[in-house]
Subunit: 236 residues, 2 copies
């Protein structure tokens, strides 16, 4: 019953730079090898799940991210966090895993076994670099804010020295990455096609609602906010 | 700029059973300690991100899950995967981390630093049990299918012996778990309130579209599918 959320079928299959961790595995037909697909998955995603090792256990936390495809040979993903966060302190000394997932639909087959999920998923491994250059640090933070809401970094008060001192920025190369997707309808075994069970897909997507202005703000919703909400399918 | 997706502010803060990994950290005010909140986050979630250690690196993969709150002292979370999946093979021999995240809104403050995310996140640690009892294995698989679409396990062909042999089911106790949430509007520093920047929240949610019947299926969309789609806010 490989639901595609399934750890089995989600195992990394398509190295953009082959390594042991991203060596070719099962479900080749689902593999998308183009780096462009990786970039699309990262551009469309809003949050990632960051995996680090703390002590003898993995720790997986959701976090915001941003990407700068022109930084570094293969592009750079930026993460940030409190300088006091255990995950942020541990990250620059170890290989981390950053995973971005889009769940596009529930795939309901006639057999429980062939139930699946339409999805797009990117996995990036690497030892992140703690950004110490002041200009790149600010750049990384702007990239993260603008990733969530394009243009936002120009419509806020930039972080001051005190705020920057409280924040760590990590840079992760997109070199060791893989992407995997599943799309389309359910695929049952031929002998199951006559079974009297409905089969199909329930599409899923993340949408935005109408922007809600703060109670202490009397400004009209600006274009960059409305544009972002509309891009995410807000009712207009 | 602790976006709440931020690894810093998302660091586990609210142990339901205190351990070193889930010891109280920052952002106490965001912590939700009730186990009921954990259950709500797990009930509403459709997918989790599973963290395992492979070699010297963490591996984070999205996967489907299901929960049975009546199984075990604190309830049980079920995962499954191909018996060949490295993550599934490795999991029963180590502590794993399962994280379920709901992103509820983008919080846009006047200062970049106070940008945040409204979210609900659950983190569960434990050494999973490889389910070998045939009845519990089938139960676990049904729990996972019914978690995605309630009632679906009764509207499909159950897995046969061959399919069951290809699938591993893992049971993880909900004992060592934590949950953290952020809700409400943006909170700026008093000295920033007069800044001429719009501040507020862009709400986010996952919605379903109209169910799409397979091209090889001529059955009408059944109630359990329509109910699930409507529950997720499908246009009707």
């Amino acid at each position: 019953m490989p639901l595609s959320g399934d750890a089995g079928s989600m195992t990394i299959t398509t190295p953009l730079q082959p390594t042991d961790r991203t060596s070719l595995r099962r479900s080749k037909e689902r593999a998308a090898t183009e780096r462009e697909v990786l970039h699309e998955v990262l551009r469309e995603g809003m949050f990632c799940h960051l995996g680090v090792i703390l002590g003898d256990a993995p720790l997986v936390l959701p976090t915001a991210y941003g990407i700068d495809l022109d930084r570094g040979v293969d592009g750079t993903l930026y993460l940030h966090g409190s300088v006091a966060a255990r995950s942020v302190v541990a990250a620059p000394e170890q290989t981390i895993c950053v995973t971005v997932t889009h769940a596009d639909g529930l795939v309901l087959a006639r057999s429980a076994f062939h139930h699946s999920v339409n999805y797009r998923s990117a996995v990036i491994f690497g030892v992140p670099r703690l950004v110490t250059d002041p200009d790149e640090k600010l750049h990384g933070l702007n990239v993260i804010v603008d990733h969530l809401v394009p243009g936002r970094s120009h419509a806020t008060r930039p972080p001051n020295r005190k705020e920057l001192a409280k924040t760590s920025v990590l840079a992760l190369s997109l070199t060791e990455a893989s992407v995997k997707t599943r799309a389309g309808e359910a695929n049952d075994d031929p002998e199951d096609l006559a079974l009297p069970y409905w089969t199909g897909v329930i599409p899923l997507r993340t949408v935005a609602g109408e922007p809600v202005t703060n109670s202490d703000c009397d400004l009209l919703t600006p274009a960059h906010i409305r544009t972002r909400a509309n891009l995410l399918g807000a009712p207009s």
